[in-house]
């Protein structure tokens, strides 16, 4: 299954500036591993040492938060879009 992973601004340094990356995957976890294979170092920004999605990073399949689907085991199908949405705090300074 070919899915598009949308890369947020804070992680684009790790994808050479690319704002989206195409990967082959059947689940969100596979997509993250495929992303790591293409752009080493990105997985640790998204997942903790146990491979769980970090709590200050939200992952969406299309417009739904995977925490309310099947977490990192959420299946993905051809044409789905995975978005990584990390916490950001800028505003005043």
């Amino acid at each position: 299954m070919s899915v598009t992973v949308r890369i947020p601004t804070p992680l684009r340094r790790l994808t050479g500036g690319a704002d989206e990356v195409q990967v082959e995957a059947k689940t969100v976890a596979e997509a993250i591993d495929a992303l790591e294979a293409k752009h080493p170092g990105i997985k640790e920004r998204i997942c903790d040492e146990q491979g769980e999605i970090r709590r200050f990073v939200n992952i969406y399949v299309n417009d739904e938060d995977v925490r309310f689907l099947e977490g990192k085991d959420t299946p993905v199908k051809d044409g789905d879009e995975i978005s990584i949405v990390p916490a950001i705090a800028g505003g005043a300074a």
Binding site: L14, R45, R54, Y60, S83, V85, A89, G91, A92
Partner: protein
């Protein structure tokens, strides 16, 4: 509601009053509304100015910083003649010039676990445009305890996020901790001012925050509660992502473990990516 507009007010607010969704009742509602703006910087500048122009009767602005030359690239409530002035005071001056109907309360201090509930209690709605995670969690928690709606916005480089939180009004409504349960550890996410930001992004995101705040005060349209809106300026794209109440939220669920304000340490700026 008894409405006694002056001639000048009828003219000043005529483009609001003519809107069926606002009308004289809506304008009177705005004039009697009280809004607290946390942070008088990139986001606080456009929100304070648009809410003031719209005739929001009382605006509280809290910020402990003073105007610095590097702020002027995006913080349009301030100017060259305000360098060194407390930002809350400077914003107050700008608002006084925009609309004399507005009463501004300037707090030249930091929001802390000591003062947060007491200050927030005085307002109908809170806008968060702060620049750090500890303040964002403090604002969220204090709004939850005081049962005040919160319109929260944040930005980074070319990207913005916007959401409305009112778990006290809507049983399914999430809070900021449903989105992010606790602040990220230092170094793993950007929260520092060194990261850079395209100046006008603050206007785009702050103005959307002001639009949502006015809708919330007027009680019109569909609330953003339950959604996370993101803006990517490089792709010129707004998106709405579903934001659900976390049944294990440490603050607003029935499994809550947080029952009073928590003050987090502001981590050192170590983020490098």
């Amino acid at each position: 509601m008894e409405i006694n507009f002056t001639e000048e007010q009828l003219e000043r607010y005529s483009r609001h009053i003519i809107l069926p969704e606002v009308g004289p009742e809506g304008q009177a509602k705005l004039l009697s509304s009280r809004v607290l703006i946390v942070g008088a910087g990139g986001l606080g500048s456009p929100t304070a100015m648009y809410l003031a122009a719209a005739g929001v009767g009382t605006i509280g602005i809290i910020d402990a910083d003073c105007v610095d030359l590097s702020n002027l690239q995006r913080q349009i409530a301030h100017g060259q003649d305000r360098l060194g002035m407390p930002k809350a005071e400077s914003a107050k001056k700008t608002i006084a010039n925009l609309n004399p109907d507005v009463k501004v309360i300037a707090y030249n201090e930091r929001l802390t676990s000591e003062n947060a509930r007491e200050i927030i209690r005085e307002y109908d709605l809170v806008l968060d445009g702060s620049d750090n995670f500890p303040t964002r969690f403090l604002v969220n928690d204090a709004c939850f305890f005081e049962k005040k709606p919160l319109v929260s916005a944040a930005m980074f480089r070319f990207e913005g996020q916007l959401a409305t939180f009112k778990p006290h009004e809507d049983a399914d409504g999430p809070c900021y901790r449903c989105l992010y349960p606790e602040p990220p550890p230092a170094g793993l996410v950007p929260s520092c001012s060194e990261a850079g930001i395209l100046g006008a992004l603050a206007g785009a995101v702050g103005t959307m925050q002001a639009v949502e705040a006015l809708k919330e005060l007027l009680g019109i349209g569909e609330s953003l509660s339950g959604w996370l809106m993101t803006f990517d300026a490089l792709r010129m794209e707004w998106r709405k992502l579903r934001l659900r109440k976390d049944p294990h939220c440490p603050l607003c669920s029935d499994k809550a473990t947080i029952h009073e304000l928590v003050e987090y340490e502001q981590p050192a700026c170590t983020w490098q990516a």
